[in-house]
């Protein structure tokens, strides 16, 4: 076939190594460019969210319309500056964002930034727990499925995976709650910890807000046990959703690389099938896997919103649902923007990790 750019000529005697493709600091340059790309992404999302939320009107009317007499409403709108031209408000909003000022919530009148830091820790904790579950379950099972392809084990695992991501996370949560909390009574129904534990942990000096970290630091083993018991069901509910996706992802990609010549070459040298799957096929498959996993972080954050509501896990998602019900769109906008930043940064990290695994980028 015709190639658009013919490959650089190989040395005629075939004895000199080909020159490196990118000249000078390939990886460093890549990281820098990739880092700079974060900002337009965030900027676009912030802009989209701002204008979309304003198309329908100002937040005060949305939150309080009908509950206040029109004069009072107009007064409050004027006080908050929502009657100025939209672009003035937009640039003011951008300026505030850069200084970390997200505004004040309408429903409970607290700084949005403070709300974000308080509840962000809880969401982070839930996400880390769930990610652990997803990785520990999804990757090994995906490799087994690829290895036992089209056999009984593969069939069972694939059906398991499909069930995992076909079940809405709130329904999975509901079933888990019914089974393990209500009927069997093994685990608590909801929340992040018992009230006594929460009090003990928030009383600490400079708490991180991540409960298991805080209880470890204070050496409070009873608290740790309680935190762990509360964490299991939400982590499993959210983790299994992602585990199903990871399982499928690993399976497909490993099967793809198992068909490559270099795996057959390894086989022709007598390398065992087990090592072919876990080493020869898995590592090259990791590059696309990691890239897609980055995108799954976004899916998981979406799932976290639902999981938190199901388990009354007081994080950003739980608050988001609360603020949505209260039509407090200033708070909603703050949460959405923060999640956008988190997604952009995670994708950046993921791309760098993928690049580090690939020697063609590294050298």
């Amino acid at each position: 076939m015709t190639t658009l750019i013919e490959a650089p000529p190989s040395d005629a005697d075939g004895l000199l190594p080909t020159k490196k493709k990118a000249s000078g600091g390939g990886l460093g340059q890549y990281i820098l460019i990739r880092f700079l790309l974060i900002f337009p992404t965030i900027f676009i999302l912030v802009t989209l969210v701002f204008f979309l939320m304003r198309i329908t009107g100002d937040p005060i009317t949305a939150a309080l319309g009908g509950r206040l007499p029109p004069e009072q409403l107009a007064e409050r709108i004027h006080a908050a500056g929502y009657d100025r031209p939209i672009f003035v408000q937009y640039f003011e909003y951008l300026g505030q964002l850069i200084t970390g000022n997200f505004g004040t919530t309408l429903s409970d009148n607290r700084p949005v930034s403070e709300m974000l830091t308080t509840y962000g820790a809880a969401t982070l904790e839930l996400s880390i727990n769930a990610l652990l579950v997803a990785l520990l379950v999804g990757i090994p099972l995906g490799m087994i499925a690829a290895h036992r392809r089209d056999k009984a084990a593969d069939a069972v695992l694939r059906i398991f995976a499909i069930l995992c991501y076909a079940t809405p996370v709130f329904f999975a949560g509901l079933l888990l709650k019914l089974t393990f909390a209500v009927w069997l009574g093994w685990l608590p129904v909801a929340g992040r910890a018992k009230t006594s534990t929460e009090l003990a942990l928030t009383a600490l000096q400079a708490p991180t807000g991540i409960y298991w970290l805080d209880s470890l630091r204070s050496g409070n083993m009873a608290a740790l046990g309680d935190v762990f018991a509360h964490a299991v069901l939400p982590a499993v509910a959210l983790g299994l959703l992602t585990a199903g996706i990871f399982l499928r992802l690993v399976r497909t990609n490993v099967i793809g690389t198992l068909g490559k010549d270099y795996v057959e070459a390894g086989r022709s040298r007598g390398v065992s099938e087990f090592r072919l799957v876990t080493k020869h096929a898995y590592k090259p498959a990791l590059i696309p896997i990691i890239t897609v996993m980055g995108l799954q972080i976004a899916v998981m954050l979406g799932g976290a919103v639902l999981t938190e509501t199901t388990f009354e896990w007081k994080g950003l998602g739980f608050q988001l649902a609360t603020y949505l019900t209260a039509r407090d769109f200033v708070a909603v906008q703050g949460i959405v923007v923060l999640l956008a930043v988190i997604v952009a940064v995670t994708n950046f990290i993921v791309d760098i990790v993928a690049a580090l695994i690939d020697p063609r980028v590294r050298y």
Partner: protein
């Protein structure tokens, strides 16, 4: 190396109905894969039938809380007149589950058709023309794509309806929210295909003979780029149901008096679980799971059957390894071709 398939010259094409997406896939499938495809088709068929015949199947209306015998009891356990029990508000669970299928189908159809339409056009144009338009569209699509789809849907739901609305208003709001989430996906797929096809010799040969851009896009790229659409359609249909249910669960769905919606019912059922009332949540939940499983099974089967690497093949009949009269002619040269192609 040289690949000379002396094959196919003699093999005429199958009749048209055997080449239709799902039917041709069924004929290609074997064993487990056929089982998965069939299960998926059955579940999806059940879902569609339920939606179409909801008025006949459901004993009560979706917002009915009383009949000639008086008000329905609240939170009644399954059995008797109310097959799957009643909710705290006195709705009949079975009826709402059945009506919910109709809502789901409407939302999927509207959402997926809109997103395919817009996504395909944008993808074709962006991929083929390139330049600034392409770059801007890619950055926007990537930003939206990377963002949690549920949040995009929430934002869109706020924009469209301020949160709650009637049957058609709610369905349109949900459908448009989902459309916005999915356009980037179709856009990316079609754009990537278009860019790949642009470099194919058959497109270049059209260029060399002087075909116009419109002609190349419509005649040469469009039909080849959209071959994967049935697959994306089924996969996205299942995602659309999950997004709709998620919206409903957060209270951004359709009011119970306007239509039945599974996610909304699950939200209301959440409070029941602590007191051990399981039927209000389990049945709408199962309805979601079965529908999504059905659609996913169909989608994944098509995906696997399209991808020669993932496609399982039945084994050659053991004990019959000698050439027979039929094997020496046309078919005889096919396997070595595929075997040698894979090594080249």
């Amino acid at each position: 190396m040289s690949i000379e398939p002396t094959i196919a010259a003699e093999s005429r094409r199958d009749p048209w109905f055997r080449r239709l997406p799902v039917i041709s896939h069924f004929n290609k499938s074997v064993g487990l894969q056929r089982g998965m495809l069939v299960t998926g088709l059955v579940l999806t068929g059940l879902f569609l039938l339920t939606a179409i015949f909801a008025p006949l199947i459901a004993p009560f209306g979706f917002s009915q809380i009383s009949d000639a015998e008086g008000n329905f009891p609240a939170q009644q356990a399954p059995g008797g007149k109310h097959l799957l029990g009643t909710t705290v508000g006195g709705y009949d669970v079975f009826s709402r589950v059945v009506w919910g299928a109709q809502t789901a189908v409407l939302v999927i159809i509207v959402a997926v058709i809109m997103s395919i339409f817009i996504g395909v056009i944008l993808g074709l144009v962006s991929g083929y023309i390139g330049g600034w338009l392409d770059r801007i569209l890619v950055v926007v699509a990537d930003a939206v794509y990377a963002f949690p789809s549920l949040l995009v849907a929430i934002v869109m739901a706020i924009v469209i309806s301020g949160g709650r609305s009637s049957l058609w208003g709610g369905i349109l709001a949900a459908a448009i929210s989902i459309t916005v989430v999915f356009i980037p996906q179709y856009f990316r797929v079609i754009r990537a295909e278009t860019i790949r096809l642009k470099a194919e010799p058959f497109v270049e040969s059209a260029k060399v003979v002087g075909a116009s851009n419109i002609r190349i896009m419509t005649r040469h790229i469009y039909r080849n780029a959209t071959r994967t659409l049935p697959l994306i359609f089924t996969l996205n249909a299942s995602e659309a149901i999950l997004t709709l249910a998620g919206l409903g669960f957060l209270g951004f769905g359709i009011e119970p008096t306007s239509a039945a919606e599974w996610g909304f019912d699950l939200n209301k059922a959440l409070a029941d679980t602590t007191s051990g009332i399981w039927w209000t949540g389990v049945f709408p939940g199962l309805a979601i799971v079965l529908t999504v499983v059905g659609l996913t099974l169909v989608g994944e089967s098509i995906n696997d059957l399209n991808d020669p690497r993932l496609r399982g093949r039945r084994k050659a009949a053991p004990g019959k390894t000698g050439p027979d009269t039929a094997g020496s002619g046309t078919a005889g040269s096919q396997a070595p071709v595929s075997a040698e192609v894979s090594s080249s």
